[in-house]
Every structure is written in structure tokens, then in C-alpha cells.
């Protein structure tokens, strides 16, 4: 009783008024920070900041069209060359010009004057829009329009599908003015209104993806509310008294205010895609409170003094609680090792939230218990056996316990050993990356991904790799993309890549526009397309292309100041084999033409393909590193707490095995490793190890109570704490699993599924493998009485000391 934790508990309870005031003040402080809380997906923050591809993307954010909405209008029963479809394209194009934040200079469709055809005439070059000042209506006008399209290779390749059934409208927005939600709602409304029995209309592009994610994120609040309500109902059903329900809710709410308020004060936006983790923390806080409260009931049943019971509960539970939460904190903070800004911000948010669970889950909860009226059904609550369900659980756990010691343990060991080897083997087969046609934030059959798939089917598509030509002098007076070396190197690179065994579907560079201009202005004969290898010739062609237009018209291939350019390569899909081959081929081609030129550097690269690889690289680099670090920190922490290295190892073995089982399950389900699974693995170990800590602490305690009989010890531990673990795991799953069924965001659903799986596997392995290892090793630390983590307390001594004649009603749990 003289240990620090009990003295601290006594001090807190002695100054309840002061402690309560302190909590009130801190809560008020963080509550003020709530006004700055911002939930926002910053897409570029989902990318690893130190990856060379991401650095190219950040240096040249305009390449790969990140601000462009793409609409595809497809005629279901014929081609687009009819008055109805062309009128629809005209109207949609004009309506797109009314979108909030659109760059009026960067709308391109067959109906804009930017889609032109040119004819060489005896007097010069006549350049005209494909459509006159109205959509073609008569057969003659339509025939004329079709003839003009034939003279416009740009439109033919990139605006009208090969079979003539589909056409695109590209609209680029001004980043400073773009409100993704507002723009997307506007565009989506246009798309929905334009669909009819003859036309499919699809919307794609990065801003559309952002819009969808925002739309689904608003759904998140509903799921959040649903799961929260489910948690409270479960709690109410389990506890069936006011204290038992109010205490976890108040404690968790205060921790939540601190958690959100903290990032509010830091003005660090919260990533909504990861909001499942805070819910896990709420569930974690709930289950912790339940265990704390149950322990309080037991002690109160003995002492019949709320204050004293709360004080003793605080003293008893302090170290196991802190140790359990410590592992959560480590798990969450270590996620920040991966250099992904969204993860770093999130680790800060959730890591501190987890830290806040210590004061709230130790002191605040004790203060609450000491003032709230004690439940009337206290005897029933601490009574043994409980109802039918409780009894069934006990029977089940007794059965589980029986497999972990004695003769049956040999069979169990064999099964676990074989299962572990199989799981490790299967887990090692897992691949990195989860390619989805479109975005893996959304389901493959989502409207967005369906739109992307349709566009990929009819046009070069959206799976691009951008190889950037970057000027060494960003203010070069002779504008680097207008120099012969730049343009000819671009063309050489394209030729090199097009000759490869798996060539891209299409390639495009500024050089292609220059060749077309060269052909046209030299008289129209295709033999005049190639550029003379001189600065004068290239510059002349660039002048011909640029005259009478804004550089924005070519922002897909060069920047506004014509200093940097890109070679775009379109691939048929984004499967890992395609990505690997594309990058290898690009590297080979760059080596061939040389990456370092006098005026520019060639940098690989940006675009969907490169950025997907960047994320895969970070998973590859950090998945095992994070798990390794987590093991090390937890090993040190637990070894100190149990004063035994063996204890640390015993605790880590089941959680790592759980991780391996999860990976093998994922592999069997066809899911690859990605950022999601990295997060789940870290949280799985950090949170999952709690089960082991609870159980091992109880084993240590029971070992003395059961006269050093291992079999009885394990049975007693499993039927008491094991039940609590089952409850804890269930409550966590109630908080997480609904996300899998309710979320239209695949990212969130996946995380819900994986977290549920890991919690389930963790629970099973903690209940089976941990006792089994203890039985096999029979470690000596179990017999020590000076462990920090022990939850035992001699209540009879307290009763005798403080309360005189009050009878004992129950043995310590």
C-alpha cells in the first residue's frame, strides 16, 4: 500500500475538489481548441513526401492534369455524329463554363473553338474551329463537321474515341478558386441531367475523385453516429446500471474533447479517411472503463465506501492501464515513421488522444466513481456466474483453457506450430499494392471507377506516367521547351519507349504539337512533319503552335512559362506488372537518351503510375520497419513492467503471430499490402497486446491464488480475464465492423475489415497461444510478488484497517 501508485491515488482522492477543477480547466482549454478542428482530405498528403516520384509531382503539380475534370459522353446506339449528341456536347460544354472555379481558358471539347482544324490554302493556313457558332444540325453540317474532324489529328486521337461513339470534355479548374465539393456537385449534376436512353455520361479526373471522397466522407458522420450508438447500447446492455454507463461515456467524451481540441489548437487538419481509428480509441476507452468499473464494483462490494473503493481501484489499475495504453500509444506514434504527412498528422492526433486516455482513464474515472451513486445491484454484478450467456462464455473459456495445459496442450502446440509455419509461408507470398482501375479509395464498381474504366476503354485513358523535362534555369530567356535539344530528346525518348516490347497505348509530348504545326505551316505534306534539329526550326514551330493562344492550351505538356515539359505515356492498366514494366522501360529509355542535359534534367516521374508506385515503395520500405520498431519498444516496456525479458517475448509472440495470420488471410483473400494494412498492423500489435497484458497479469495473480497449479491458474485466468478480453474484443468489433458494411469508401471499409480481423485473430491467439506458451515455458517471473502489473490487493487488510467490522463479501478478483 505504500507504493507510489497508491500514494498518488490517495493524494488525488484527498484533493478531489482541486483535481476536479484541474480536469474542468484542461477540458475547457481543449474545448476552446475545438473551434479550429478541420476535417479535410489533403490528397497530396497521402503521398510519401520523401519519395523521388512524389518530389517530381510536387515540383511539377500541373503535369498529369490534377485539376481537370473529364466528362465522357457516349452514344449508346450509334456514333456521336448526330444532331442530338452534338447538341448535348455543345450544351454540356457551355454549362461546364459556368462551373464555379473553372478556368475559362482551359475548357476543351469538340464544341470549343480550341478544337480546330487547319487547311493549307494557296494564301496561307486557314485555321478554324471544328464547330461553327452552333452545333451541327443538318446532314450537310454534320458531314462537314465529320470532314473537319478528319483534318484534326489532335481531336481524333484525344477527343473522339476510335469507334466514334464517345467524346470527351476536359475542364481544368483554378486551384486557388476550386472548392472541390462545390465544383464536383455542380459537375455531377450536369452529368446526371445529361444521361438519357441514348447517352451514357461519365465523370472522371482527380477533382471528381476528391468530390466523391468528400461526398462519402459526409456519410462517415452517419456511420460514426451509428457505431457510437451501437457501442453505447452494448455498454448499457452489459452494465445495466447508471454508473456503468455514464462513467465510460463521460470519461471517453472528455478524452475525445482533449484529443480533438489538441489538434484544433495545433491547427492540424484531421484526415477523415482515417476516422475509424478514433472510433477504435473510443471503443478502447469504453472497454477500459468497463474493466475499471467492474474492478471498482468488486472492491466496493467489500468496502461499501465509494471514495475508498475508487482510491484503491485507481491504485490497483494504474499500472496495467498505463502499460496497456502505452502500447497503444507506441503503436500509433510509430505509424509516423512512414513519411506520409497525413499519417504523421494522424499519429499526432490519435497518439495524443491515446495519451489522454491515461489521465482520464485513471484519475477522472476514479473521481466519477467516487461521486456517482453506487449501483443497487452490486451483489448481482459481482456475483459469480452471472446469466446464461455469461455461463456459456465461462464454459467455452474453460474448454479453451483445457487445451492449453496438460496432455491436450501437446496437440494444441502441434496445431499452433503447423498453423504458424503455414501462416508464415502464406504471409510471405503477399504482394505489395492493391491496384484498382481508377482509385483504390473507392470500390471497383463505384460510379467514379466505372467512369474511369469506360474512359480507359475508349480513350488513351488515365493511367499515365509523366517523364518531366525540367529546366535548370526556370527563367531561361530562351525558354527550354522551345529548344531543339529538349524537343528532340523528348521525341527520342518517345521513340525509344514506343519500340519497347510492352509499349504504352499512346505517348504525347510538346514535340508532337510542334511536328503537326511544322507539317501544316510548311504546306500540309506529312513529310514536312519532322523538325529540323536546330533551335531556330523548333522555335519557329513553337511560335506557330503558340500564336493566338494561351500556353494554358498546352498545359498538359508544358508549363505556363514554357520552361518545363512532360512526355506523357498512357498504359492500359495500373496492375503491378504493368507499373513495374513501365517504370523499368522508362528508366532504360532515359538512360539511353541521358538524364542530364545542358539546359534540362529528365526526371522520372509523376502521373498515376509513378504515384501509385511511390505509395507501394513506402509500404515496402516501412511496413516491416514499423513492426520491428514496435516490437522493440514494446519488448523493452513489457520486460521492464514484468521485470523479465521472457515476459516481453511471451507477450509479443501471439500479436506477431496474429499479424502473420492476418497477412496470410489477406493474401488468400487477394488483398495486397498497402498503407491501410501498414496502419492496421501497427494498431493491431499496439492495441492487440493489451489482451496479452491483461491475461498475463491475471496469470501472475492467479498463480499464487491457485497454489502454483498451472492448470488451475490458466483456467482461472481465462474464465475471468479471458471473459473480459472477449467483451473488450467484441466491443471493439462493434465499433469497427459496421464500417465495412456501411462505407462507400473502400479505403474505410477495408480498414474496418482488416481491423476487425486483426482484433479477432488477436483475441483468439491471446486466449489460446499465450496460455499455451506460459504452460510450455512455465516462466519464473509468474511466481514473483513484486510485479508492477499485479492487480492484486489485500482488501481484507484494508477492511480491517479502515472499516473495522464491515464483512468481506468477495475475494479479490
Amino acid at each position: 500500500m505504500e507504493s507510489f501508485r497508491f500514494r498518488l491515488a490517495a493524494l488525488v482522492m484527498r484533493h478531489r475538489g482541486f483535481t476536479t477543477l484541474l480536469f474542468a480547466l484542461v477540458t475547457a482549454f481543449f474545448a476552446v481548441g475545438l473551434r479550429n478542428v478541420e476535417l479535410k482530405t489533403i490528397f497530396s498528403d497521402l503521398l510519401p513526401k520523401d519519395d523521388p516520384f512524389v518530389q517530381v509531382y510536387k515540383d511539377h503539380p500541373n503535369f498529369g492534369n490534377p485539376l481537370t475534370f473529364t466528362l465522357m459522353i457516349q452514344r449508346k446506339d450509334g456514333d456521336i455524329y448526330n444532331p442530338e449528341t452534338l447538341a448535348k456536347v455543345w450544351k454540356l460544354t457551355r454549362d461546364v463554363d459556368l462551373a464555379p472555379g473553372v478556368d475559362h481558358d482551359q475548357i476543351l471539347s469538340i464544341a470549343t473553338e480550341k478544337a480546330r482544324y487547319a487547311e493549307a490554302t494557296p494564301y496561307g493556313i486557314d485555321v478554324r474551329p471544328l464547330m461553327e457558332d452552333h452545333a451541327p444540325t443538318t446532314p450537310e453540317e454534320i458531314a462537314e463537321f465529320r470532314a473537319r474532324v478528319d483534318k484534326a489529328p489532335g481531336a481524333r486521337n484525344f477527343l473522339i474515341s476510335g469507334d466514334g461513339t464517345a467524346t470527351l470534355i476536359n475542364a481544368t479548374f483554378i486551384e486557388r478558386l476550386l472548392d472541390y465539393g462545390e465544383a464536383f456537385n455542380y459537375m455531377q449534376k450536369l452529368v446526371e441531367a445529361a444521361r438519357d436512353e441514348h447517352h451514357d455520361v461519365h465523370l472522371a479526373g482527380q477533382p471528381a475523385l476528391t468530390g466523391w471522397v468528400y461526398r462519402y466522407e459526409s456519410q462517415m458522420f452517419v456511420i460514426f453516429a451509428v457505431t457510437l450508438a451501437a457501442l453505447v447500447i452494448t455498454l448499457a446492455l452489459y452494465m445495466r446500471n447508471v454508473v456503468g454507463v455514464v462513467t465510460p461515456i463521460v470519461t471517453s467524451a472528455v478524452a475525445a474533447i482533449w484529443g480533438f481540441g489538441f489538434v484544433g489548437w495545433l491547427k492540424s487538419p484531421i484526415e477523415p479517411l482515417l476516422m475509424i481509428v478514433p472510433l477504435l480509441l473510443i471503443a478502447r476507452s469504453f472497454s477500459h472503463c468497463v474493466q475499471f468499473t467492474e474492478r471498482y464494483y468488486e472492491i466496493y462490494a467489500h468496502l461499501r465506501d465509494r471514495e475508498k473503493a475508487a482510491e484503491i481501484t485507481m491504485g490497483v489499475m494504474m499500472v496495467p492501464s498505463v502499460l496497456g495504453i502505452f502500447t497503444d500509444i507506441v503503436g500509433i506514434f510509430l505509424i509516423a515513421i512512414a513519411p506520409i504527412p497525413a499519417m504523421e498528422r494522424f499519429a499526432l492526433f490519435c497518439g495524443f488522444w491515446a495519451i489522454w486516455l491515461i489521465p482520464t482513464g485513471t484519475f477522472l474515472i476514479s473521481l466519477l466513481l467516487s461521486v456517482l451513486p453506487p449501483p443497487k445491484n452490486i451483489d448481482k454484478l459481482v456475483g459469480h456466474g452471472g446469466g446464461g450467456v455469461h455461463r456459456k462464455f465461462s464454459q467455452l473459456l474453460r474448454g479453451v483453457a483445457a487445451t492449453t495445459y496438460g496432455r491436450p496442450a501437446r496437440v494444441t502446440t502441434l496445431i499452433v506450430a503447423v498453423g504458424s509455419v503455414a501462416a508464415i509461408y502464406t504471409a510471405l507470398q503477399i504482394k505489395i499494392g492493391n491496384p484498382v482501375e481508377g482509385s483504390n479509395l473507392l470500390w471497383p464498381e463505384s460510379e467514379y471507377n466505372e467512369g474511369v474504366a469506360q474512359i480507359n476503354r475508349n480513350f488513351p485513358g488515365v493511367n499515365t506516367l509523366e517523364i518531366v523535362f525540367e529546366a535548370k534555369d526556370q527563367k531561361s530567356p530562351s525558354r527550354v521547351t522551345r529548344q531543339a535539344d529538349t524537343v528532340l530528346t523528348m521525341q527520342a525518348l518517345q521513340a525509344e519507349i514506343e519500340r519497347s516490347p510492352q509499349p504504352p497505348r499512346a505517348t504525347l509530348s510538346f514535340g508532337d504539337y510542334l511536328m503537326e504545326a511544322n507539317r501544316l505551316f510548311s504546306g500540309g505534306n506529312p513529310k514536312w512533319a519532322p523538325l529540323d534539329p536546330t533551335d531556330a526550326a523548333v522555335n519557329a514551330a513553337a511560335g506557330a503552335v503558340m500564336v493566338g493562344s494561351s500556353p494554358k492550351a498546352f498545359s498538359n505538356v508544358i508549363d505556363f512559362e514554357q520552361q518545363n515539359g512532360t512526355v506523357s505515356l498512357w498504359f492500359k492498366d495500373n496492375r503491378q506488372e504493368t507499373v513495374d514494366a513501365a517504370l523499368a522501360e522508362a528508366r532504360r529509355a532515359i538512360d539511353k537518351v541521358g538524364a542530364d542535359h545542358k539546359a534540362f534534367l529528365i526526371r522520372l516521374g509523376t502521373g498515376t503510375i509513378a504515384l501509385q508506385q511511390a505509395v507501394n515503395n513506402v509500404v515496402d520500405r516501412y511496413h516491416w520497419l514499423i513492426i520491428g520498431c514496435l516490437n522493440l519498444v514494446i519488448l523493452i516496456g513489457c520486460s521492464l513492467a514484468y521485470r523479465s525479458l521472457v515476459a516481453g517475448l511471451i507477450l509479443l509472440l501471439p500479436v506477431n503471430l496474429s499479424n502473420v495470420v492476418l497477412l496470410s488471410t489477406m493474401h488468400l483473400m487477394g488483398i495486397g499490402l498497402d498503407v491501410n494494412s501498414m496502419l492496421v498492423a501497427a494498431i493491431g500489435i499496439g492495441v492487440g497486446i493489451d489482451y496479452g497484458i491483461y491475461l498475463l497479469s491475471r496469470i501472475c495473480e492467479e498463480y499464487h491464488g491457485q497454489d502454483h497449479d498451472w492448470g488451475r491458474t490458466l483456467t482461472a485466468a481465462l474464465t475471468t480475464t479471458g471473459k473480459a478480453i472477449m467483451f473488450t474484443a467484441s466491443i471493439m468489433m462493434i465499433g469497427i465492423l459496421p464500417w465495412y458494411f456501411l462505407s462507400d469508401l473502400k479505403f474505410m471499409a477495408d480498414m474496418g475489415l482488416l481491423l476487425t480481423l486483426i482484433m479477432l485473430i488477436n483475441m483468439i491467439l491471446a486466449l489460446v497461444v499465450l496460455p499455451l506458451i506460459v504452460w510450455l515455458l512455465k516462466p519464473s517471473f509468474v511466481g514473483r510478488k513484486d510485479l508492477l502489473v499485479g492487480e492484486s490487493v489485500d482488501l481484507s487488510a484494508i477492511v480491517a484497517e479502515d472499516l473495522g467490522s464491515k464483512p468481506m463479501q468477495s475475494a479479490p478478483a
Binding site: 459556368l98 478556368d103 473553338e113 457558332d133 493566338g548 505556363f560
Partner: protein, 460 residues
């Protein structure tokens, strides 16, 4: 002191009343044009608060003061919305000077003379084109000194852009990126020759059906030098001008679609052909002209804006923006009465512009501010001119017997993309071309204003 009998808001109230009643006569206390005809002094037509910025702002702003973010609220109503934003948020400063009372300083002398001489003789025909009372193309000066409607006000802007029968402007241009750095810099020459609506009252070369020839050719930097354009404007304002471009490297003339007027001439420039002179398109290709109000305004119209003697090439000090080079230094003054005119590009079914709004000084019929809105109604671009009589304390440039008058600088700000184009009418630009307003002995038509001419200019 007699003005004191009018209360402070009298002038503004009267301008409002004139708008509501559709009164065309300029002036508040007395009709303006008889005063201009007699002594060219406009001060008797307006009360103090419309002639003095100090009176208008109740002492908050005085001549000699500089408008900055800290005091711009006092003149918010006197600036176009983009200029206000520039001062409020981008570090722009505007110098304030006394208002010009002598109207002769707001025109080239011959143009004012023609305006007065031909006053009352202009009529709009059934199509909306301007003809004299005897059915001839317009004979010079502002056709409608007191425009009764928007089309008449637009005619004053359109028929003679630069107020000279022939002008050649040597233009130096800088295009400033959102980060304040210089993205592009060009030297170009702009020549305009009126065939009709000339102050000499003649029809040039007998071509009654042509309003003007106008060409522009770039002389620097090297990669753009030689690119040139020729615009031929018909007198019939319903017809689109012919637009040809010349590419020296290919020795070819390129014909542009005649309705393609919402694109920049060269990369980096923010304004379109359509924006030039606030009347860059034939006036009847636009429609729904409306005078939506009359108001005082701040305008850069006084001779302090002439940089002759202050800079050898008439270039201007700059300031503001992220790199302290986004805005020209200008000297604005209170313009007592402006017509606020709006129009829509009804002849351009693909125009990205929803409408333009123009503030026109009723004294010389010239615009002092111009902005365009997109089709959503969001403000998009400004084309803010700066004029001067070319005569200051250091230098006077003569145009014939009188001090010259012309524009000296323009700020064209695309506030959506946040790109600024600023240019000055320099004394001279690369290629040795000098600004000037008379034909002299030159055959300017054959030298600068034909397809052969622009081809030759390109190869030079």
C-alpha cells in the same frame, strides 16, 4: 462659394436621378457641353464634392495622398472592383492628384475640335451603325457627346479608338505571374489607321466600307519577333473583322477564325483582342447595351501620368505584388461624372465572357475603367487605362501645334488566374519603332497595314 447652397450629397443624388430618368445631358449644376464649347472649363457643371476628392471623402483623402490598403475604403465606390482588390489585398498604391478642370487636356486638340464641330450630326441607322445626317460614314470626333443610350456611348469608344486618324504605339509589355515574378516580356508595335470617322472629315482612299486597318507586330524577344497580325474592320459594326497572322519562320499568313476574339495574341498576355480599348469587337457584335448608372470615379487621366522627362523611354516605376513589380505607379483624380455601361457578347455563342462593364468619362467619352465578368457573374479581368496630355514640368511632346494626348499605360489583371499584364506606350521599342500620331510622309498603309506589309515586318 455659391456651390455651398447645395447639400453634400446633392451631386451624387442628381447623378442617380439622371440615371433613373434616362437624362443624357452631362453635368449636374449646368449642362456640361455648352461650358466645354465656351471655355472648356467643366468646373461650373459640378458641385464641389464631384470636383474635389477632399470634399468627396470629407477630408479623408487629399491630392498628394496615396491610396493604400489602410485608406482605400474611403474611395471604394470610386474604383472598379478589381482595382479595389489590388489595393486592399496586393499592396497596390494609387497616387491622388487634383482633378483636371480644363477639358482640352482630355483630348487631342483636333479631335475635340471635330467633336464640337460635328456635334449633333450623328444618327444611328436601322442596323445600329453610325451615319451623318446626310447618310455618310461618320466624319470625326465623338459622334454622341451626350449619349442617350448604351450603343451611342459604345460608338464613342469604337469609331476612333486612339482619337487620332493614325497612331503608332511602341509598346513595352511585362506579364507578371501569380508569384510576382516576370513570366513574359514583349516589345510590340500597334498601328491603327482610320479610313472613316476621321477628324479630317475625309474617307481614306475612298474606302467607305472600312472603319480601320489595324496591325500589331512583335519585335522582341527573339522567339516571338516577327509574329504579326492584321485586323481589317468593316464600317458595318455587325461584321466580324478579318484577322490574319503572319509567321515569319514559315513565311506564311495564317487566317484566324473571325469570331475567335477571346484568346491572347501571344502566350502570357492576359487580355484578348476583345478587350482592346474596352471596345475590341465591332460594337454590334455585342448587345444588350445598358447604361446602368452615372457616378464619379477615380481615373488616371491627368498629365502627371506622362513619364516623359522622368524616364528616357517613358517607362514607369512599379510596385506591389509578391515581388514588388506587379503594378505601375499611376496618378488618379476624381472624375466628376462617368456613365456606367454594360454589354453582353450576344454575337459570340461561345464567349467565356458574360458581360463587360465600362466606366466612361462623360467629358471625353473615353473609358477610365473596364472589367469583364464570366458567365457565372464572377468578376474576371480588368483593363485599366492611364491617359495623359504629353506635357509635364519636364517635357512636352507636340502633336502638330498642340501637346499630344494619348494613352500611356494599361494594367490588365486576370484576377481569377491572378496574372497581370502591364504595358506602357514607350517612346521607342526594339526595332527602332517610335510612338507617333501622324502619318507624315510615310505610306503607312503599305508599310504597316497590309498582308504584304506584315509579312515584310516579320522578316525584318
Amino acid at each position: 462659394m455659391w456651390i455651398k447652397k447645395y447639400d453634400f450629397d446633392y451631386g451624387r443624388r442628381m447623378l442617380l436621378e439622371k440615371t433613373v430618368k434616362g437624362v443624357a445631358a452631362a453635368g449636374v449644376l449646368a449642362p456640361l457641353w455648352p461650358l466645354i464649347g465656351n471655355a472648356a472649363d467643366s468646373s461650373k457643371a459640378y458641385p464641389d464634392e464631384l470636383l474635389s476628392i477632399e470634399a468627396y471623402t470629407k477630408g479623408k483623402i487629399k491630392p498628394g495622398d496615396v491610396i493604400t490598403a489602410s485608406n482605400v475604403e474611403a474611395v471604394k465606390d470610386l474604383l472598379d472592383p478589381i482595382a479595389y482588390q489590388q489595393v486592399k489585398t496586393m499592396g497596390r498604391r494609387i497616387n491622388i492628384v487634383e482633378s483636371t478642370k480644363d477639358v482640352t487636356k482630355l483630348f487631342p486638340a483636333e479631335y475635340l475640335e471635330a467633336t464640337l464641330k460635328n456635334k449633333g450630326r450623328a444618327k444611328l441607322d436601322g442596323d445600329g451603325n453610325v451615319f451623318t445626317d446626310n447618310g455618310e460614314p461618320w466624319i470625326g470626333g465623338n459622334p454622341f457627346v451626350e449619349p442617350k443610350d448604351g450603343v451611342e456611348a459604345a460608338a464613342n469608344l469604337t469609331l476612333s479608338w486612339g482619337r487620332h486618324d493614325y497612331s503608332m504605339y511602341a509598346v513595352r509589355d511585362w506579364d507578371i505571374a501569380p508569384d510576382g515574378t516576370q513570366a513574359y516580356q514583349y516589345d510590340f508595335v500597334w498601328a491603327e489607321l482610320n479610313n472613316t470617322a476621321r477628324v479630317d472629315g475625309k474617307v481614306w482612299n475612298g474606302k467607305k466600307d472600312i472603319l480601320r486597318y489595324q496591325s500589331v507586330w512583335f519585335t522582341s524577344p527573339q522567339d516571338t519577333a516577327g509574329s504579326s497580325y492584321l485586323n481589317t474592320w468593316y464600317y458595318d459594326q455587325r461584321k466580324f473583322p478579318d484577322l490574319y497572322g503572319y509567321l515569319p519562320a514559315f513565311k506564311r499568313v495564317r487566317q484566324f477564325p473571325t469570331n475567335q476574339r477571346f484568346e491572347p495574341l501571344v502566350p502570357g498576355i492576359t487580355f484578348f483582342l476583345s478587350d482592346a480599348w474596352a471596345a475590341g469587337d465591332p460594337m454590334l457584335t455585342w448587345g444588350n447595351y445598358k447604361i446602368i448608372g452615372r457616378q464619379p470615379m477615380l481615373g488616371a487621366i491627368g498629365s502627371r501620368n506622362f513619364m516623359g522627362g522622368y524616364h528616357p523611354n517613358y517607362e514607369r516605376p512599379v510596385h506591389g505584388g509578391p515581388k514588388n513589380q506587379t503594378f505601375h505607379d499611376v496618378w488618379m483624380e476624381l472624375v466628376p461624372e462617368c456613365i456606367v455601361l454594360e454589354a453582353e457578347p450576344t454575337g459570340y455563342p461561345r464567349a467565356p465572357v458574360g458581360k463587360k462593364r465600362i466606366w466612361i468619362d462623360v467629358r471625353n467619352g473615353m473609358y477610365v475603367a473596364y472589367v469583364t465578368y464570366d458567365r457565372r457573374g464572377e468578376i474576371w479581368k480588368s483593363f485599366e487605362p492611364c491617359y495623359a496630355q504629353y506635357s509635364n514640368d519636364k517635357l512636352t511632346v507636340k502633336d502638330g501645334a498642340h501637346p499630344a494626348w494619348s494613352w500611356v499605360a494599361v494594367l490588365s489583371h486576370d484576377i481569377q488566374a491572378n496574372r497581370m499584364t502591364r504595358f506602357v506606350q514607350a517612346k521607342e521599342v526594339t526595332g527602332g519603332y517610335k510612338s507617333g500620331y501622324s502619318v507624315g510622309k510615310d505610306d503607312v498603309y503599305n508599310k504597316y497595314l497590309t498582308n504584304q506589309a506584315i509579312a515584310r515586318l516579320g522578316s525584318a
